[in-house]
């Protein structure tokens, strides 16, 4: 578990460092994600002690993903004065944009899947 957490932190560090050095316009943790994924593929089940530890740490973090959004969310109160005047318009954009994005994404996914005749048991 601790080893797993260390691995996740290490890959984040690697990602942040690469972004800082190259100026590549993608956030560090995303690069860390890609690098960890490629490493897992390359290792193909070797490192029998470390990989289960990474899986355990990842499971613990992803199982409580919502928690990590709470501190920034409480900032809504602190920013209320800034957005007060535009609050109605902001709420409208938020809701309409979310519904629109959900709809076009799910329809595109299903349309292309049907076009390919792919089933995967779930459709």
């Amino acid at each position: 578990m601790l080893r797993g957490l260390a691995a996740l932190l290490f890959f984040q560090l690697l990602g942040e460092s690469l972004v800082f050095v190259t100026g590549f316009p993608v956030p560090g943790p995303v690069i860390g994600l890609v690098l960890l994924f490629l490493s897992l593929l390359a290792l193909q089940g070797r490192l029998r002690e470390t990989i289960p530890a990474v899986e355990a740490a990842a499971g613990a973090l992803l199982g409580n993903l919502g928690l990590f959004f709470v501190p920034a969310g409480v900032g809504v109160v602190a920013l209320w004065g800034v957005v007060q005047d535009e609050g109605g318009a902001i709420a409208a954009v938020l809701i309409v944009s979310a519904v629109f994005t959900l709809a076009v994404t799910v329809w595109t996914f299903i349309a292309v899947r049907r076009l390919l005749g792919e089933r995967d048991g779930a459709a």
Binding site: L5, F69, V76, T108, F109
Partner: protein
């Protein structure tokens, strides 16, 4: 002996109490959500934020002071983003078989998420600063804040809009998909993760494991796609 007032003054200025309160509030909110069959109206992210905001307002605690403690939780967003590599690796064979639907939905979805903000925001007369901070709202918080900062937006405002988008998406995704009679849980999850990042993903995991996985994949891919699409949209509105 010191008085309770002195204790309160001591505790309220230390990070410990706000960290403890954040974690305990989350555990309680998750428990309530679990007992009410994951009803989206008691989404644990939403109830935790509301409860903590109430405490901050009642006790007149400045956000900076609260964040001194809560930052330790906030920090875990980074490693949690990296952690998405694990489900992606485990399910890589399924993902590869659905490569085309994923690529198409990612392309269309990330453009829809960003361009709808430009069009609606301009139509409803939002100021340009708000629109720029609004653009990356479907990407996960850490990513969206970085994009916003690089374009001269307000990262704190972006964080708030990201969270609100997450909550709105998590609240509407299940009733919306049921109404549209979508029973493909890979597609449902993908749309939830693309629209509402981690909060949508957490919601998708509650509903169905396949949905959760595809939500996590969509969140990871859209973090990258949003980083590419938002600068284009910003150029479009002249930033």
């Amino acid at each position: 002996m010191r008085s309770p007032v002195e204790l309160w003054i001591y505790l309220s200025t230390s990070p410990l109490i706000w960290l403890t309160l954040t974690v305990c509030t989350w555990i309680a909110a998750s428990e309530v959500s679990r007992r009410l069959d994951r009803n989206p109206l008691v989404n644990p992210v939403l109830t935790s934020i509301l409860l903590l905001s109430l405490v901050m307002t009642v006790f007149e605690i400045p956000y900076q002071q609260f964040f001194e403690g809560a930052q330790f939780v906030h920090f875990l967003l980074g490693p949690a983003t990296v952690a998405i590599a694990v489900p992606l690796y485990r399910q890589w064979d399924r993902v590869r078989r659905l490569f085309l639907p994923i690529a198409a939905a990612l392309f269309v979805g990330s453009f829809a998420a960003v361009s709808s903000v430009v069009v609606l925001g301009t139509l409803l007369g939002l100021s340009e600063d708000v629109v720029v901070s609004f653009l990356p709202k479907s990407a996960t918080a850490g990513v969206a804040m970085a994009i916003s900062a690089s374009l001269g937006g307000n990262p704190s405002l972006t964080a708030v809009l990201v969270i609100l988008t997450g909550i709105v998406g998590a609240l509407i995704v299940t009733p919306f998909m049921n109404l549209m009679r979508v029973r493909d849980y890979a597609a449902r999850g993908f749309a939830a993760g693309l629209t509402s990042h981690g909060i949508g993903t957490a919601r998708a995991y509650e509903v169905d494991e396949t949905a959760g996985l595809f939500a996590a994949i969509a969140m990871a891919l859209n973090a990258v796609a949003t980083s590419a699409v938002v600068p284009l949209a910003a150029a479009w509105i002249g930033r």
